[in-house]
Amino acid sequence: MSQSTHLDQVTIRFAGDSGDGMQLTGTQFTNTTAMVGNDISTLPDYPAEIRAPAGTLFGVSGFQLQFSSHEIHTPGDQVDVLVAMNPAALKVNLQHLKDNGIIIANADAFTMRNLKLAGYEQNPLEDGSLEGFQLFAVPISTLTREALVDVAMGARDKDRSKNFFALGITYWMFSRPLEVTLKWIEEKFSGKPELIDANKKALNAGYSYALSTEVFTTTYTVEKASTAPGTYRKITGNEAVSLGLIVAAHKAGRPLFLGGYPITPASDILHNLAKYRHYDVKTFQAEDEIAGVGAAIGASYSGALGVTASSGPGIALKSEFIGYAVMTEIPLVVINVQRGGPSTGLPTKTEQADLFQAFYGRNGEAPLPIVAAKSPADCFQTALEAAHMAIKFATPVFLLTDGYLANGAEPWLIPDVADIAEIREPLAQPGEEYLPYKRDRQTLARTLAVPGTEGLEHRLGGLEKEDLTGNVSYDPENHHRMIHLRQEKVEKVADFIPPPDFSGAQEGNLLIISWGSTFGTVFSALEEVKKQGREVSWMHLRWINPLPEMLGRLIGNFKNVLVPEINAGQLVKIIRSEYLVDAKGFDRVRGLPLQTHELVEEISSYFEEKK
């Protein structure tokens, strides 16, 4: 009989070949874990190659998940449990495993050939090198084939169900129910009864194997997290962006138009939105990135909410058109799901190195508002805000997310649609005297007249505009005035956005300023630091342009300012130039989220040096 142990939080990593279905396995574990009420945070970590050669180190695909009985904000630094489907997966991921952590390895995959591909001279499952870990070497492939003996399938096809066997073991180990995955299998493989049968049998067999063999001595339970009451679902950043845009368009009374071009890791936004024709969503897969944003601007011009979503290389191509939207003052939401750069860089990995691109990546003086999401679920709210400000200020707005937020998942407290504010910005009406570049006093936004409106025919373009009339103007003073009007308009956004997250005292030794997806790491690091009895203040920026007014008031009250980022120091340079303070950066640019313990060490150093 096994014993049951309560745990507060667990980090598990599924790893295997990119064809082993590890993303699917991880997602299923996540869905089930979300349903039982744990807080979750996930990190899919996969190669850019669709099917890298089997067994190789560079072909290893991983999915990491932290789940907990309390609030968590990161997918975890080190893992408690590593599921390794082959030697390469073990080799790549062992470094992430805690001392005395659990390894569940598919012993069948530790063949001479695979060991050699992974660079092992001896079988690590047998040579004692894994002492110090709890090793469970399970012949997963053999056991799966045995479980599927009655299924009319070839051996190779049967082997493809082995990830469900592994999933079954972990479900038993962490006391998870099978129902969510069983139901999913039926829906996913609907019309393919042999696949339904095989995968269900493999899942059940894995669970039963763990239950009935004496190998596993302990099951673990992780209690429900106590979170705010309401209805929840699991959501990834790309899903949340898509939903936020649909809701924003409805609240604005405009059809949603996405002009896009496939690019990792932003394509899922295009895929998601393409499903929602019945929500008046028009998606346009353009011939290239440039046409994607051009069509979005054209659609906005004729009354839709125009959106384009891409990643760094695609944004680079769009930059001339984004400047055009700045000049013509047409609403536009530009989403950059940041990935490792420069150039093609690391397409499937996360990074925050496109902040400068968003700030400065256009010719001429072309300021625009920039907002960044802090977590997968926050992508919903930031998409709403980005769309709102784009329409309210008749401007392109950048929404920055990243690969980790886009593919990572967490529970989301589903809002009541009725509680979300309307985005009603007046359009010019027939009969009005219309000056295309006459501005609202509060926002400095111009009023739009959409084609089809009688009597308001007018011409726009990328040439400099005369103030008020919008006619082409080469007048030197007018150009100077317009440059500053466009800048002031962006600054006015500050009057209409919520203040940033701020915690801690208004003065002290250390202020941390962060933005985007580092939120989770900073949150977790500060929990640690507080346990050490240290006082740290923290501002997490949501809108990065314009910077919050309160930051200017506070920043001088601190002896040290630390800006952690997944880039070589971009926000920190903006902070230094804006406030003339000696802010320091902290960066680890590895294509992965920052690790909590590294940031804790960095923060601690600010206290130790001051003795």
Binding site: A34, G294, P451
Partner: protein, 342 residues
């Protein structure tokens, strides 16, 4: 529906003056663009579309200043990208009548990709390509339609490139209406543009346009009244391929290619049928402009009925709504596995 439209059209008593904007036209005196502008202002009252529903979209170049001079909605875009803007405009509001004004450099060089994909999708817009075979706004470099050997500022020893044939490109890219006309044949130009504007789908008109500053006389052979009839073949529906001052010559189709022959009455003459011609003949006709021994065809090369992208998109939205029902936002947010916390 059609009766209402007819009534509305009767009420639209526009004249060409209604389409003149308050902006001063700033093309060089003598530029061929003036003629195109004049014909456009003349044909719009005939088109029977409310002027608030008309949008002119352009790229960059001399031709692309066109929208400023029309008292309709207008977007002067960025270089080569007018098709992208126009696609978004038309798809977001299919009720609009959208014109793209572009040039040989704008459309076939920097914007080549957008141009071919616009044609391929058959979005219901009308493209006017002002072909002057030179870069005018940047003061005289060879363009993708300049003849090989052209001496310009950027090709002082002669350009090394073969030119594009815009009509052939539009045909190959799948435009459903393809025509050619000339700035100095205003009647033909107006009639061709009107027919193009009325066509449902991507309509493409190449317009031979004289740049009297940087490439004067490029089309003189075809536009000069003295030489025109020997060098131009006017394509007309259901008409033999006859040309010459006295219509004394014609094109003979031997099944593979055209030959110029003296005209004699024929029992079963070959007639021009742009609505149903085989592709091989469309291309054979289009290719004539590349060969000195043949007249240059002007008129309509192709006019085919086919579903437009914009209409298909509207239909798809209706069909999905029919099968799934109008989307409910709260249900959208609560889709998939959810759980409650009390």
């Amino acid at each position: 529906m059609s009766t209402i439209e007819t009534l509305e059209q009767k009420e639209l008593k526009y004249t060409k003056e209604d389409f003149i904007s308050d902006q001063e036209v700033r093309w060089c005196p003598g530029c061929g663009d003036y003629s195109i502008l004049a014909q456009m202002r003349r044909l719009l009252p005939e088109l029977g579309v409310k002027k608030e529903n008309v949008v002119f979209v352009s790229g960059i170049g001399c031709s692309s200043r066109f929208p400023y001079y029309m008292d309709t909605y207008g977007l002067h875009g960025i270089h080569g990208r007018a098709p992208a803007l126009a696609s978004g405009i038309k798809l977001a509001n299919p009720d609009l009548t959208v014109f793209i004004i572009t040039g040989d450099g704008d459309s076939l060089s920097i914007g080549g990709n957008h141009f071919i994909h616009l044609c391929r999708r058959n979005i219901d817009v009308t493209v006017l390509l002002f072909n002057n075979r030179i870069y005018g706004l940047t003061k005289g470099q060879y363009s993708p339609t300049s003849e090989r050997g052209k001496i310009t500022k950027s090709s002082p020893y002669g350009s090394l490139e073969e030119p594009f044939n815009p009509v052939k490109m539009a045909l190959a890219a799948g435009a459903t209406f393809v025509a050619r006309s000339m700035d100095r044949d205003p009647k033909h130009l107006e009639a061709t543009l009107l027919e193009a504007a009325r066509h449902k789908g991507t309509s493409f008109v190449e317009i031979y346009q004289n740049c009297n500053i940087f490439n004067d006389g490029a089309f003189e052979k075809y536009t000069n009244i003295k030489t025109r009839f020997d060098n131009v073949l006017y394509l007309k529906n259901d008409w033999e391929y006859r040309f010459g001052k006295e219509n004394d010559k014609h094109l003979f189709w031997d099944g593979f290619r055209f030959r110029v022959e003296e005209w004699k009455e024929q029992e079963k003459p070959l007639l021009h049928t742009p609505e149903e011609m085989p592709v091989s003949m469309e291309f054979a006709l289009a290719e004539l402009s590349e060969r000195d021994e043949f007249p240059v065809p002007v008129g309509v090369f192709r006019k085919r009925q086919a579903a437009t992208y914009d209409a298909l998109l509207t239909k798809q939205i209706e069909e999905v709504k029919k099968s799934k029902g109008q989307g409910d936002l709260q249900k959208l947010l609560e889709a998939g596995n959810t759980w409650k916390v009390d």
